[in-house]
């Protein structure tokens, strides 16, 4: 990819496009918009492969995070606030193999399904809708502090489940 090799771009696309597309579709709820985002993310990487610093995490995790963030920006009709090269994702999992991804997907779904419903709702509203704690609090009538803590402990519960 860094040599400008279109085959490398195709390989990266084959490996990671389902992840980028799935998260975009879940946030945007529109196949056309999700396709546009997919194109944008991979073209960005094609034009400037140096955006991703391999010494600071895995490409799959980085793509997942910047795709989600970009999808939220599109959903909320705002300009990207963060330079993607500043987004550092500290995780070793590379999410490259399909079997690994399926295993992780099943486990994360199981964990989300096992969370108390109000915690899962707060986490999903922040993650998939980009709602702030104030907006979630206004929607659910629950205190701000409670919402904040639910979001953080929800994310930490995922991390803990994958720590060995």
């Amino acid at each position: 990819m860094r040599q400008g090799d279109e085959n490398a771009l195709a390989q990266l696309y084959d490996r990671y496009s389902p992840l980028v597309y799935s998260v975009a579709l879940r946030v945007l709820g529109d196949t056309g918009a999700a396709e546009d985002l997919l194109q944008e993310v991979f073209m960005q990487l094609w034009r400037n492969p140096g955006l991703f610093d391999s010494s600071r995490g895995s490409l799959g995790s980085w793509l997942a995070v910047i795709s989600r963030n970009r999808a939220i920006d599109m959903l909320r009709k705002r300009r990207p606030e963060t330079d993607v090269s500043d987004v550092i994702v500290a995780v070793e999992r590379d999410l490259a193999g399909e079997a690994d991804r399926n295993r992780i997907m099943e486990r994360v779904r199981g964990l989300l399904g096992g969370m108390p419903s109000n915690q899962r709702a707060a986490l999903e509203m922040a993650y998939f809708e980009g709602l702030s704690h104030s907006e979630i609090s206004a929607k659910t009538g629950e205190p701000l502090g409670t919402i904040k803590t639910r979001i953080r402990t929800g994310l930490l519960a995922l991390r803990k489940a994958f720590e060995t």
Partner: protein, 254 residues
Amino acid sequence: MSGHEQFADDLALHALGVLSGDERLALEKHLQECASCRRELESLRGDMALMAMSTMGPRPPARSRQRLLDAAKREPRHVEAKATRPWWLPLSWLATGALALILIYVSLQNAGLRRQVADMQRDAAGQQLELQHAREIVATLTASDAMRVTLVAAKTPPQPQGKAIYVRDRSSLIFLASNMPAIPAEKIYELWLIPITGAPIPAGLFKPDAHGSATVINPPLPANVEAKAFAITVEPEAGSTTPTMPIVMVGAGE
């Protein structure tokens, strides 16, 4: 993260990009100074990547792949030579490719190094702030024009008082005295660290000022001695290596 709990929940919101206003400004300011919170932010983004995995299932339509490759073709990243094709051209491509790889490698290394330098600069800025804060504390404690006030129960005549603050791991001792009786010119007060076992250890000499105040900051002390108590004696002006009785003031750890 210990000691940073007030930012813990906000860090998660910031990772998700939903923190705004004063809370965001305060957190961003803290992040500039705190490497441990920056690491936690990066870990929270790792957790976000896991969340993304829960959506896996739908696959993009086949046309998306071709659309991307067509767009990439329209934006080639290397301009190919079109003129003559001398026999050595493939070799030059190889050399160019190798050079490009080296340049990319160096630029990636550079990007990593730049990040490390930026991290170190932020850490250094944080430490500079802490150092400045510590200097201000010491300057206040030791200022000759500082007003030193000891509060006691009303209608009680002022009593001599000494306050020793000792951190064993750092062999660091700060001692503040007030209302100390004046002492003859050829004498001096000596502070002693009384260890759990063994002989008292000299912990600094002092003469009170006109108001009876005195300070001892970080006298030379042996490493890692557990203190049972601190005591003060009156000694010849050059000080002593063993205390001369009587002990005029003493206090054990709280």
